[in-house]
């Protein structure tokens, strides 16, 4: 008996030691075979490349770079928090201001110069100030928003109210200007079509899941004609930011959704569902309308497309509270500062990694990554313009094909060229005039025609010059600060009160809850600290940018 226990204990200890040793030895970036290997963290859990991915294979064979990817499982903030608490970073890491504050990222501007990294230099230099963190250093290479040329993309992935195309078609392709018109449209459609494919039609869907609270909390700002400034509305003349959680705008929006709910048009499970359940509902094709940013439910729409249910996919509408307000949903492309990849202090050979990033920012590699292989993934016409054949287009949306031929998640965070190449081709098919329209399904072409549109952007407001400080949503609140604490409290209050107000059974109940809610914001949340931080940063930007 004793001997047995000893053996068990001994083997358990051995196991612990072995595991500890294995985890302890960090690998050198350059192995004996001359291949540089880096670990990469991607804060996204979808669309992983397959083992024999075409692009990754070329990275390895032609450039001598191999990557070991770690994808996010769960909540990003938690994952980063744990990473920081443990001090254990991958080489190339999805950047976040948390990591900058923890001193986990190296200042890239100190490395990037014209001589060693010509492409990176060309890419970053013009937007250096906007991409920089508070201390003036660039830690994260923006993944989007650095454009070449004036061309704009055919797709639209930003905020809007989204209505199923069948609903708009049914109503005779109306122009929706106000929230009342939109809700009337929903009401009429559901009354006429109570079921969809045998299931109950859902009028309006809201998401209140953790990390995506903006779906529930931000519509009021857009309805009031404010661009995407996060939790604040910024005065257009004085540039002073104020929260709108306690404003009349919010009250109007919530009370109107409450009226909709009273008519049984809001999904009864809307506030208890997770992001996955939300996607599943949208993918079932029975959700008539919702507010969101398109990237957040894109996968669900893709599923609808894969089943040929184009009429149940969505078109953006941009209502305001009344017709005197100008909608401002689509903004001019902004540098997606503090989003993208950063290189961690744990990386032993950052120069090697930067060299890789520099190489793939060359036009040849950009074409390969964004368009694919000439003659295989796209064709070139007599004028040197790229286009795709029908088959080439169709395979693009096949998820398995994507996994083998594209690096969707990786590319999502890598710095990239957007706009046009020096030869006049769009950087990717969405930027190629004609190619975008041609890539549409027949249903969509017909739908576009009724609205006189060529691209999704034509459904949006005309682009205006962004305010000089814009956008406020990118302002970093600094971890552990009072502003950050206030922001979390405010979000929590909204997540707990807005559903209650929407589900309130009478106007009197609603009023009571609203007063309680406003009272709690004013007495329980340090709103001042939050607004001060935002205003301070807006002032800083007004002084230092451009």
């Amino acid at each position: 008996m004793k001997g047995k226990i000893k053996r068990i204990v001994a083997s358990a200890m051995c196991a612990v030691l072995v595991i500890g040793a294995a985890a302890g030895c960090g690998e050198k970036n350059t192995a004996d075979d001359g291949i540089k290997r880096y670990t990469v963290f991607i804060g996204d859990s979808t669309k992983e490349p397959s083992a024999d991915n075409k692009i990754l294979k070329r990275f390895s064979e032609e450039l001598g770079y191999e990557f070991e990817f770690e994808y996010l499982a769960g909540n990003l903030d938690e994952k980063l928090g744990v990473m920081i608490a443990g001090g254990d970073y991958p080489d190339l890491v999805m950047g976040d201001t948390k990591l900058i504050q923890a001193g986990a990222l190296i200042p890239l501007d100190e490395y990037i110069n014209e001589e060693d990294y010509p492409n990176l230099y060309r890419h970053i230099e013009p937007v250096k100030k906007r991409a920089a963190y508070d201390d003036g250093h660039v830690y994260i290479l923006p993944n989007y928003g650095i454009t070449y040329g004036e061309r704009s993309t055919g797709g639209y992935y930003g905020p809007a109210f989204w209505v199923q195309k069948r609903v708009l078609a049914d109503a005779g392709y109306p122009e929706i200007r106000t929230l009342d018109e939109l809700f009337k449209l929903i009401e009429d459609y559901v009354a006429a079509n109570p079921t969809t494919d045998g299931m109950q039609t859902i009028g309006y869907e809201i998401l209140a899941a953790q990390g995506r609270e903006y779906v529930m909390t931000s519509p009021a700002a857009y309805l009031a004609g404010s661009p995407n400034d996060g939790a604040v509305i910024v005065d257009k003349d004085t540039y002073e930011a104020k929260i709108y959680a306690d404003s009349d705008y919010m009250k109007t929006y919530v009370s109107k959704v409450r009226e909709l709910n009273e008519k049984g048009l809001v999904d009864p499970e809307t506030f208890t569902q997770s992001l996955d359940q939300y996607h599943a509902k949208i993918a079932s094709g029975r959700v008539v309308a919702l507010f969101d940013q398109r990237w957040n439910f894109q996968t669900a729409e893709d599923t609808l497309g894969a089943q040929g249910m184009y009429d149940k996919q969505y078109a953006p509408v941009i209502p305001t509270f009344d017709e005197t307000m100008e909608p401002w949903y689509k903004d001019k492309t902004v540098v997606n500062a503090q989003n993208g990849f950063g290189i961690s202090t744990a990386c032993e050979d950052p120069e090697g990694l930067l060299k890789f990033l520099d190489t793939i920012l060359s036009e040849d590699w950009q074409k390969y990554i964004q368009w694919g292989e000439e003659g295989v993934d796209y064709m070139v016409d007599d004028n040197g313009m790229f286009y795709r054949t029908e088959d080439q287009r169709t395979q693009q949306s096949d998820e398995q094909w994507q996994a083998a031929n594209k690096i969707v998640a990786f590319q999502g965070l890598l710095p990239k060229m957007e706009g046009e190449y020096s030869d006049g081709n769009g950087t990717d098919p969405a930027y190629q005039p004609d190619e975008f329209y041609e890539s549409l399904e027949d249903y969509d072409k017909d739908f576009f025609e009724h609205y006189g549109a060529k691209t999704w952007s034509d459904f949006m407001n005309p682009i205006r010059e962004n305010p000089p400080y814009y956008p406020a949503w990118q302002i970093d609140l600094e971890d552990g600060s009072d502003a950050q604490f206030a922001n979390q409290k405010l979000t929590d209050l909204q997540v707990s009160y807005i559903p209650k107000m929407i589900m309130a059974s009478s106007d009197a109940d609603f009023e009571k809850l609203w007063n309680q809610y406003v009272d709690e914001i004013h007495n329980g949340v340090n709103v001042q600290a939050y607004e001060d931080r935002i205003n301070e940063q807006i002032q800083w930007r007004l002084e230092n940018w451009d």
Partner: protein, 320 residues
């Protein structure tokens, strides 16, 4: 402490050793025991005491970029912030409430099931019930939460379908959006998942009860239920007390996953526990100091409760 307990049972007349010899002499006599306990002592020090230096964070304005001694000290700021936050106070209440529900339901159901299983004479039936009832223990909470969510859904959940079809209620009940149901759901889920597993230890304790006690009880004319109450239950009393004291130490751990996975804005006032608070206001927004302060509070309460329970348990059941 452990060695002291052991020395009491030492064959070489312990009383004599205790009174007549010096501390060093006594150490010398027990050197094998002391030697054997050293690895465990080291293990404890490394994994339980060394990490306590992290408690410093609760008194600092901790920023991960700096070393842990270069931080700015802020005294009791974080504790004050915690206890002036009504959400935290509600979270303490929720944690205690759910914990007590889990604890009492857990004990009652496990002992009841163990008593019943103990009476089954058909080995196959007994094993079968036992196996089936402890299987859910091996499911992760993520799966259990998914099951619960699907079962209770108003959309096509089986529970609501039954309620409507059996005519118990005309309308479907929104279980997961009404605060009053939540603690019950957590309690029931816990019972479903853990009841079989918890019976194992009681069944083991029951099997060690001297059969002659049952025979004697039969001679005195005791029936099945009399035997259960007067032989089986007293027989597992020590096991019960031991488990109770140990579990009281965990009373501030009402569970985290289930609440975290099932929560939503409508019921967050009853579903949020201290652990979720730490996650949201500590780790998630990078305020490690606040998280640590809440952790210290938990530890202090747990230790106090264990000592109180130990005291109340009476001399013969004492663990410490």
């Amino acid at each position: 402490m452990k060695t002291a307990v052991k020395s009491k049972k030492h064959p070489k007349s312990p009383e004599e050793i205790k009174t007549n010899r010096s501390f060093v002499q006594r150490m010398g006599l027990q050197w094998q025991l002391i030697l054997m306990s050293i690895p465990f002592l080291i293990h404890r020090i490394i994994f339980s005491y060394v990490p306590l230096k992290g408690w410093l964070m609760a008194f600092q304005n901790y920023k991960p970029a700096k070393g842990w001694l270069d931080q700015e000290f802020v005294g009791l700021k974080w504790f004050k912030q915690l206890f002036s936050d009504t959400v935290f106070i509600t979270d303490i209440r929720n944690t205690f409430a759910m914990s007590l529900i889990n604890l009492s339901l857990g004990f009652i159901t496990a002992i009841a099931l163990a008593l019943l299983l103990n009476e089954i004479k058909n080995t196959f039936a007994k094993r079968f019930v036992q196996t089936v009832s402890y299987m859910p223990h091996f499911l992760s909470w993520v799966i259990v939460a998914g099951l619960v969510q699907n079962m209770l859904s108003t959309d096509s959940g089986i529970v609501n379908d039954l309620i409507v079809k059996l005519g118990i209620s005309d309308t479907k009940i929104p279980f997961l959006s009404e605060p009053k149901y939540f603690w019950g759901i957590v309690g029931a889920s816990n019972v479903w998942k853990e009841v079989g597993w918890n019976t194992i230890i009681y069944l083991a304790a029951m099997s060690s009860i001297d059969p002659s006690l049952y025979e004697a009880a039969s001679m005195d004319g005791a029936g099945r239920f009399m035997k259960m109450f007067h032989v089986t239950l007293p027989g597992i009393k020590t096991t019960f007390m031991m488990l109770l004291i140990m579990n009281i130490g965990h009373i501030l751990e009402a569970g985290f996953e289930l609440q975290y996975l099932l929560t939503n804005g409508l019921i967050s006032s009853v579903s949020e526990t201290i652990d979720i608070y730490v996650l949201k206001y500590g780790i998630q927004i990078g305020n490690y100091s606040l998280g640590t302060a809440a952790g210290i509070f938990k530890s202090v309460v747990s230790i106090t409760l264990v000592f109180i329970a130990n005291k109340l348990a009476g001399e013969e059941n004492k663990l410490i």
